[in-house]
C-alpha cells in the first residue's frame, strides 16, 4: 500500500527524520514509536506533504507521490488525524466534516458524513455545535471523523490517546480497529506504547530522527534492548 524509501524531512535547515525506510501493507497497523523529538510526527506530516521532504521516495499503490501536494495525496487515499486534534474551533461539527471532505464529490461527502455519524453517535447529536465547545474526547472523535470522510486507504494517526480519559480512548481505538478490519492501513504514533503494541502488527522505533528498530511486535518483544529502552518493559 505504502512504501517509503530513504525519507529525509524537516523544517528549514533542521532535519527531523533522516533516511527512514519502511512499508505498510493493506490492513496493517504500523506503530511508530520513540521519545519526544524522535521524528514520529514529522514523519506523518511529511507523508501528508505538510512539511518539506528533502530526499527519498514515497510510493502509494505504485504511484510516486513524493512531490505531490496534500490535496493530491488525499486523492491517493491518505488522510491524517493530527497531534493535538487541530479541529477548526470556529466551525460547527458538521462544517469540520465538510472540510474533511473538501476533495470528494457531494454524494461521497454525504455518504462519508453518515458513516462518521454511524461510528460516533455523539457527533451526530452535536452536529450543529461549535467544535471548539466540544469536550477533548469529542474533539478527538471529530478529528478521526474528519479524516474518514475521504475514505482513506491509509490513515495517519498521531497521539490518539494524549490527554483523554481511558473510556474515550477505548472508543476511539475500537473505531480504528473496525476500520482496520475493513482493510484500512494505519500508521499509529503513540506515547502510550502499551496501547499501540496491543493493536499494531509491526513497529518502527525512531531515535533522534533515525530508525533504530523495525520488525513485528513479536520480534520487538523478543529484543531485550528494545524492551528496556523503548517499550518500558522488563
Amino acid at each position: 500500500m505504502l512504501k517509503v524509501t530513504g525519507l529525509t524531512a524537516g523544517y528549514g535547515e533542521l532535519i527531523a527524520v533522516r533516511d527512514f525506510s519502511f512499508s505498510v501493507e493493506k490492513g496493517e497497523i504500523l506503530a511508530l514509536l520513540g521519545a519526544n523529538g524522535a521524528g514520529k510526527s514529522s514523519t506523518l506530516l511529511s507523508l501528508m506533504g505538510l512539511i518539506k521532504q528533502k530526499s527519498g521516495t514515497i510510493i502509494a499503490d505504485s504511484a510516486d507521490i513524493s512531490k505531490l501536494t496534500p490535496e493530491a495525496r488525499i486523492r491517493h487515499g491518505i488522510a491524517i488525524v493530527p497531534e493535538g486534534r487541530r479541529i477548526f474551533p470556529d466551525l460547527s461539527v458538521l462544517e469540520n466534516l465538510i472540510v474533511g471532505g473538501h476533495t470528494v464529490s457531494k454524494s461521497k461527502l454525504d455518504h462519508g458524513i453518515n458513516t462518521v455519524f454511524g461510528y460516533f453517535q455523539r457527533l451526530k447529536e452535536r452536529s450543529g455545535q461549535l467544535a471548539g465547545s466540544l469536550s477533548g474526547g469529542e474533539q478527538q472523535m471529530l478529528a478521526i471523523g474528519r479524516a474518514l470522510i475521504s475514505e482513506p486507504k491509509l490513515l495517519l494517526v498521531d497521539e490518539l490517546s494524549l490527554g483523554l480519559m481511558p473510556k474515550i480512548v477505548d472508543e476511539c481505538y475500537a473505531v480504528l480497529q473496525q476500520l482496520n478490519r475493513n482493510g484500512t492501513a494505519i500508521i499509529l504514533v503513540e506515547q502510550n506504547t502499551e496501547r499501540a503494541l496491543a493493536v499494531a502488527d509491526n513497529v518502527c522505533i525512531l531515535e533522534a530522527g533515525n530508525l533504530n528498530f523495525t520488525g513485528s511486535i513479536a520480534e520487538a518483544q523478543k529484543d531485550s534492548r528494545i524492551l528496556h529502552s523503548f517499550l518500558g518493559q522488563e
Binding site: M48, T69, P82, L91, I98, V99, G100, G132, S150
Partner: protein, 287 residues
C-alpha cells in the same frame, strides 16, 4: 429623537468600519500579517469611485469598477509584497506594508494631485423623512443598505457553500485546512480580492458621504481598522463586525457627550484600552 439620530449615525459609521476592517481581519487570520496598506486600497477605491462617477454619471458602475479593480490590485499586493516575505518573521511584512502605505499616499498625490477630488455632480444628495423630525440622507441609507447586502452575501456564501466553509477553516488554521486538500494559495488570493474589494466599496461610500477624496484619507482608516480588529479579537470575523458597530455607535455618542474632553478619533483607542483590560483576547477572541 437625538438618541435615535446618534444611533443611526453610529450604524452608518460602523458599516463603513466593518467594510474596511473585514478585509484586514481576513488577511490577519490567514497570514498573520497586519496589512496596514489595506487603507491605501480604501483610498484607491474612493478615487476610482469619484473618477468613474464623474466620467459615466453612474454611481453603481463606479462601485462595481472600484471593487473589481481594487480587488485585483489587492491580489497584486499579496503577490508582489507579501508572498516573497511569508517565510520571514511577521514584522518584516508589517514594515513592507507600512512602506507600501506611505508610498501609495505619495503616489496618489502625484497621480491625482495634492488637493483631492470631488464629484462633478454629487449623487444621492437628498434625504427621506422617515417620520416627522427624523430625516435620513439617501447616501447614508445607501451606506447601510450596501453594507448589509454585501456582508449578507458574504455571510451566506461562507456559511452555506463548501468553498465558503473551507475558506473559514483556512482563516482559522491554514496548515490544517491544507492537510484536507484546501488550496491555500487560492484562498489567499481570494482573501485579498474580497478584502480589497470591500475596502474599495467603503472608499466609494466615504467619498459619497464627504463628497471628497484626498491622498491621506486612508490614514485615519488604517489605525481605526487596526484598533477594530484587535478589539474584535484578531482574525475573528464576527468580533470584527461587532467591534465595528460598537465603535461607530460609541464615536457617535461620544462626540456629543464627551467630545469636549476627548477627540473623536482618540475614542477608538480609549475604548480599545478599556476592553483589553477586561478581555485581553478582544470581544470575541479565544485565549
Amino acid at each position: 429623537m437625538l438618541y435615535l439620530e446618534l444611533f443611526i449615525q453610529g450604524i452608518v459609521q460602523g458599516s463603513i468600519y466593518a467594510l474596511i476592517a473585514l478585509g484586514l481581519t481576513l488577511v490577519y487570520g490567514l497570514l498573520r500579517i497586519l496589512h496596514v496598506a489595506h487603507a491605501a486600497l480604501f483610498t484607491l477605491g474612493g478615487y476610482i469611485g469619484v473618477i468613474v462617477t464623474n466620467q459615466t454619471g453612474s454611481l453603481a458602475l463606479a462601485v462595481l469598477v472600484a471593487a473589481i479593480l481594487v480587488g485585483i490590485v489587492g491580489m497584486a499586493v499579496y503577490k508582489i509584497a507579501y508572498e516573497p516575505l511569508l517565510s520571514q518573521p511577521p514584522f518584516i511584512a508589517l514594515i513592507a506594508s507600512i512602506a507600501l502605505f506611505i508610498a501609495s499616499e505619495e503616489l496618489f498625490r502625484i497621480v491625482f494631485g495634492p488637493y483631492g477630488l470631488s464629484y462633478a455632480s454629487q449623487p444621492l444628495t437628498g434625504h427621506l423623512e422617515l417620520f416627522p423630525g427624523f430625516r435620513l440622507k439617501y447616501a447614508e441609507m445607501l451606506v447601510i443598505g450596501m453594507s448589509v447586502v454585501v456582508l449578507s452575501i458574504l455571510a451566506y456564501l461562507s456559511l452555506n457553500t463548501r468553498i465558503g466553509i473551507a475558506w473559514r477553516a483556512s482563516v482559522t488554521d491554514p496548515s490544517m485546512a491544507r492537510a484536507f486538500g484546501v488550496n491555500i494559495q487560492n484562498v489567499r488570493y481570494m482573501n485579498f480580492f474580497i478584502g480589497s474589494a470591500l475596502a474599495a466599496i467603503a472608499g466609494v461610500l466615504v467619498a459619497l458621504l464627504n463628497n471628497f477624496v484626498e491622498p491621506t484619507m486612508g490614514s485615519v482608516a488604517s489605525y481605526k481598522a487596526l484598533a477594530i480588529i484587535v478589539l474584535g479579537g484578531l482574525g475573528n470575523i464576527r468580533g470584527t463586525l461587532l467591534a465595528s458597530m460598537l465603535l461607530g455607535i460609541i464615536e457617535a455618542f461620544g462626540t456629543i457627550y464627551i467630545g469636549h474632553l476627548i477627540d473623536r478619533d482618540a475614542l477608538a483607542f480609549g475604548f480599545l484600552i478599556i476592553v483589553l483590560m477586561v478581555r485581553p483576547q478582544g470581544l470575541m477572541g479565544v485565549k
